[in-house]
Symmetry: C2
Subunit: 352 residues, 2 copies
């Protein structure tokens, strides 16, 4: 208990200083020092090693946009997924030195409460034997569960079927492509640069991939899957979804996972979906979902994916941003597609 | 067989003379005399008593619009649902005098082939005991199955839930409202005139109804169902669907049944759906369907609905159009919402 004296009482962290109008800018953020609360009964102090940058956080940067994602408070430290080691614990389930996955990201140190077990509760994780702490933010964490639940639960993908994956070079998309191949599906993928397209085919095993910036999505999709598709894993919305609706076969499914095409736009400026008539005549199902809706299947997901990892059957793509100060630029870059795979911020321990 | 001499060899019928640009006009139709084919082995000759006018026929009046609904050929007699009596039969399952429900509508007499049993095959129907032949076009036919399957299979409506029904005074909507009440749901309905709104509440039992032309749909829906809705039965698309997406509760379902808001519009002029992000954060399911996709449940549907009818628990609303010559105007009127319930054309037997 003597060591308490050397525990940090403040942390560097990232805050939003205003709600952006239109495109998000670096000047909408500030990296500042924040006081840390006391480690009261039932909470833990964590030193973060990594935190992740996730597109859905963009939704929380617009006030009044959503009733389900609470907007971030201005000038307070943001939150998001992170992984680190316990420095101090006032909860029986956590010991100093444990690795934990938790929701106190965008900062160096976090004091997090441990509520009843739910999606946002801190979770002890294993590290070693080929598994790095940052894997729990991606392939073995929220991104992995999103890919797995979207493909196998929402999309009900079956071996031999064809799946179209948009935003395929992103954190979730790179996993969707590989999981679909592992289960024996044909994979058509889209991304926004030729480099990503090559990576999807050469490294991740997509059967066909195209750069959506080169030609209308519908033309590229028809050329890539002339016989149609059975499942569309949608991380984009807009023209991608409209094209998929036309190209889906009777009985096809859409897993609605993200709408990055509209995240920087407000209400009426968002691209409207015009081809839903196609859902009627082909009996299509579109289902929206978030990883947390499949939290009760987390253990099954984890077992299955950990086995793929152990057999070296899954690549965990990542784009690493060095240090908290670079995280606002990294987040904006991710929204514009400069990343491949999971965007992770490496938290550099302070030397003082 | 002697009677063959007096059987008709031609019929009056309705043809489309051109594919309309934009709004459909009466001048796009012609009522003409058409030769009847021979009654060859496996087919029957029917004298129609009634044929129905169905919004989905509008889709077939635009060339190249859909790959699933074949466009009507110009200058040939249209087809659609009809009910009548067998005048001549070259099929063992049908005898002269039988009532049949079949797809040779928009005409006085029809020679129809009897293929393997499918959705479009002629079907022998019972008449009498309170059931009129025209009931088989509506409450006991395609409209009834659409309402039943959309509510109970696609929408998975449960007692105590709240359902929002648009185009509620139409052929399908009037049945959806009543079936939902019969199973113990709360019903919010929208229609396009105050008269329809009164009818929905006073006669059909809707808990709340509103005229969508009076105020923005979202405002009216929020006022009508401040606590949200569980199921949306969509016959409209456009602003109705966008409003419903915002007002649906977590886990809500949308039965996509029709898009009458877009039927007179082409491609890019159609209203785009902007609020699909709401499906992601609430885990909503949108499923398109056509009655024929539930053909294998027809017997179960029929049993259940016939029982409601026998107990006088269902009103079959109808708008009757007198004679084939009035059918083009009746069809256009229905697209503009001048009807209540099923639009039926009474075929007047010729006196000659």
């Amino acid at each position: 208990m003597n060591e308490r004296a050397v525990l940090p009482t403040s942390t560097r962290g990232v805050a939003l200083t205003r709600y952006p109008e239109g495109e998000l800018q670096e000047s909408d953020f500030a990296v500042r020092e924040f006081d840390l609360p006391e480690v009261t009964q039932g909470s833990i102090l964590v030193q973060n090693e990594w935190f992740s940058l996730d597109p859905s956080s963009r939704i929380r940067m617009t006030a009044g946009e959503s009733t389900y994602f609470t907007p971030f408070a201005l000038d307070e430290v943001l939150d998001g997924w992170a992984v680190g080691r316990v420095l101090d614990s006032a909860h029986d389930d956590f010991a100093v030195g444990d690795y934990v996955h938790h929701f106190g990201g965008w900062r160096e140190y976090a004091v997090v409460a441990v509520p009843d077990k739910d999606w946002y509760s801190p979770r002890r994780v294993e590290v070693g034997g080929g598994i790095d702490s940052r894997h729990h933010l991606g392939v073995l964490g929220p991104s992995g569960l999103t890919a797995w639940a979207g493909l196998f639960r929402v999309g009900r993908l079956k071996p031999g079927e064809t799946v179209f994956v948009s935003a395929a070079a992103g954190a979730v998309g790179t996993l969707v492509v590989q999981m679909a191949k592992l289960m024996g599906a044909t994979v058509v993928a889209s991304a926004g640069t030729d480099e990503k397209v090559r990576h999807l085919v050469d490294d991740l095993g997509a059967d066909v991939a195209f750069n959506y910036r080169v030609a209308p999505v519908l033309d590229s999709l028809q050329a890539a899957a002339p016989g149609g598709i059975d499942v569309y894993f949608d991380g984009v919305g807009g023209d991608h979804l409209d094209a998929a609706l036309l190209q889906l076969r009777a009985g096809g499914r859409v897993a609605l996972c993200g709408q990055i095409a509209g995240y920087n736009l407000k209400g009426d400026d968002r691209p409207g979906i015009k081809n839903l008539f196609s859902a009627i005549e082909k009996g299509l199902t579109l289902q929206g979902f978030l990883a947390r809706m499949y939290f009760d299947e987390f253990d099954e997901f984890y077992r299955e994916v950990a086995e793929w990892l152990a057999r070296d059957q899954l690549i965990f793509d990542e784009t690493i941003i060095e240090g908290i100060d670079a995280s606002p630029a990294g987040f904006i870059g991710m929204l514009h597609g400069t990343n491949i795979g999971k965007s992770l911020v490496r938290v550099t321990p302070r030397t003082s």
